[in-house]
């Protein structure tokens, strides 16, 4: 197992490296600099600012300097907000986005797994069609449609829930989390249904029944272990998607999280901010993919043993 983990981690490193490099050169090659949108700046002042932010150095030197900073964990100063560093801004937004993502994921897992497993127990009946149709709606209605609709219905027409802010008014975390989590609840429901159906048709489930096990135990003790593996494997990509989804949700609900900062930084050509956020978010995603891969492999005893060098 350790060997497997090690290999995976080694494979992840070049990815992060490629991300950093590609982002760096992409951003720098864009027309226009961070100061071009400001009101007319006196050329000398502009030069001084550029020097402070190292923009006067040749490109590849900027690159290596940046790498050096990264190694020390310094993501650089923000162009847009002088006096504040990227680290500062990132870490102010991180807890918010993390909390939002966590709630969304919990909603997605609870609803998704329950619905999917439930549906798989009686395929092609109402017990199956109803949850799966709802799941289909969740997939086909993007968060930027669902969010405003929920706001319209629950926030404005019914006035049950607050529609902006995070942590200011009790209950203002509900709508954003639900919006973000719905699509994933839908995917997870479909995945767990498919996984369970596959497992329930296996011979060893028949063996379990032949032993006299009650159906609920057949499902929980025997079927779930294999059936939920696709869901675990999905968590990595789900994380990446949640992050992307947070861009939209935070914008709609005016939440001061990483996603919103990222979108703003992109608009403002705040180089270091874009770079820093991209590197940070990408590393997070790569890390989560890694963890989810490892867990999924570990759950499969055959793979577990293969990598431990046991007989197979």
């Amino acid at each position: 197992m350790l060997r497997f983990m090690f290999i995976r981690i080694l494979q992840a490193l070049p990815v992060i490296f490629v991300v950093i490099t590609a982002t760096f050169f992409l951003v720098r090659s864009a027309p226009g600099g961070p100061f071009d949108q400001e009101k007319i700046v006196i050329p000398e002042v502009k030069k001084a600012l550029e020097a402070q932010y190292r923009l006067d150095l040749p490109l590849h030197e900027q690159y290596f300097a940046y790498l050096g900073d990264l190694a020390q964990g310094d993501l650089g100063p923000s162009f847009k907000y002088p006096g504040r560093s990227v680290n500062e801004i990132l870490f102010s937004g991180l807890p918010v986005t993390a909390e939002l993502g966590l709630y969304a994921l919990i909603i997605a897992l609870c609803i998704g797994v329950t619905a999917g497993v439930f549906a798989s127990l009686r395929p092609n009946t109402a017990q199956d069609y109803v949850p799966m149709s709802l799941a289909m709606i969740g997939i086909c209605m993007p968060s930027f449609l669902l969010g405003p609709l929920l706001v319209l219905v629950f926030g404005i027409w019914l006035d049950w829930l607050p529609i902006t802010g995070w942590g200011d008014i009790p209950g203002d975390k509900i709508l954003p989390a639900v919006t973000l989590g719905s699509a994933y609840a839908a995917y997870i429901a479909r995945l767990s249904r498919a996984g369970m159906l596959e497992i329930l048709s296996q011979d060893y489930i028949r063996t379990a029944r032949a032993k006299g096990l009650p159906e609920w135990r057949v499902v929980t003790q025997h079927a779930l272990r294999g059936g939920l593996i696709p869901v675990i494997a999905f968590l990595g990509p789900a994380f990446a998607g949640l992050l992307a989804g947070s861009f939209v949700v935070e914008t709609i609900f005016q939440i001061p999280g990483l996603g919103r900062f990222y979108v703003q930084a992109a608009f403002n050509r705040d180089y270091t901010m874009i770079l820093g956020t991209t590197v940070f978010l990408s590393s997070l995603i790569v890390f989560f993919n890694l963890v989810s891969d490892i867990i999924a492999a570990w759950l499969n005893p055959r793979l577990r043993h293969q990598f431990q060098g046991g007989s197979s």
Binding site: P14, P142, F144
Partner: protein, 294 residues
Amino acid sequence: MNTVAPVFEDAEKGSSLWHDAWLRLRKNKLALFGGSVLLFMVVVALLTPWIAPYSYEAQNLDLGASPPSAAHWLGTDIFGRDVLTQIMYGGRISLAVGFIATAVALLIGVTWGAVAGYVGGRVDAVMMRLVDILYALPFMIFIVLLMVVFGRNILLLFLAIGAVEWLTMARIMRSQVQSLRQQEFVEAAVSVGLSPAAIIRKHVVPNALGPIIVYTTLTIPSVMLLEAFLSFLGLGIQPPATSWGLLISYGAETMEEYPWLLIFPGCALTLTLFSLNFLGDGLRDALDVRGSKD
């Protein structure tokens, strides 16, 4: 190749697997519904310039935003433009992005995966390592970046989206080809003496098509979602062009006063996505079974 001469006059008609799949698909009401709606949408999109009730630019500033009425079935926006017309033109773009980007992804992915899967060995290892690395890159972030950096170019949009989707297509094709390669009828073809090119053409590709067709049908909606997402953030389609994603984002801004500006484009998008997904699911069920084995 199947012209049977008088020697086989009384030959019975065979029922190919495609035919069986078609029969199965026909019985699936949801899939048929999806297929019909999709067809309708495509036809409307193609004929839009001729059948749209109003011209695309026609504004009616005196009218402003108004709810559905006899003259404007779906209402008007704040410039007095007919919403139905907007949706029809927006649909052209959204559907076009969906189909074209998917086609690009299909072309690249299928070729890449087929070569890697059939040749195997080192070539396969290298090709798939590239796919793995690209796969691990957080694309959402990159696309956002690309869109910002290179300006809002519709061509680039297609390319960027296609560049994301071809990876999964390649993986699917490769695993299909790999498993087919080990099938005994491919071995039989080798032992008969067919060249690798002929084997891929006659034996591998026709049998790999099933999952590819299914996946293509399911890729189109996710491409459309991606475009809508980008347009919503202001990073996709730019005015004066319009797409469903853009329309939804405008509608969201003014949804309190003019809810129909959000709801109707939303319905159009959701309905189309529904149809594609139902059709894709139906195709998957129909093509899955290889016919009775015994």
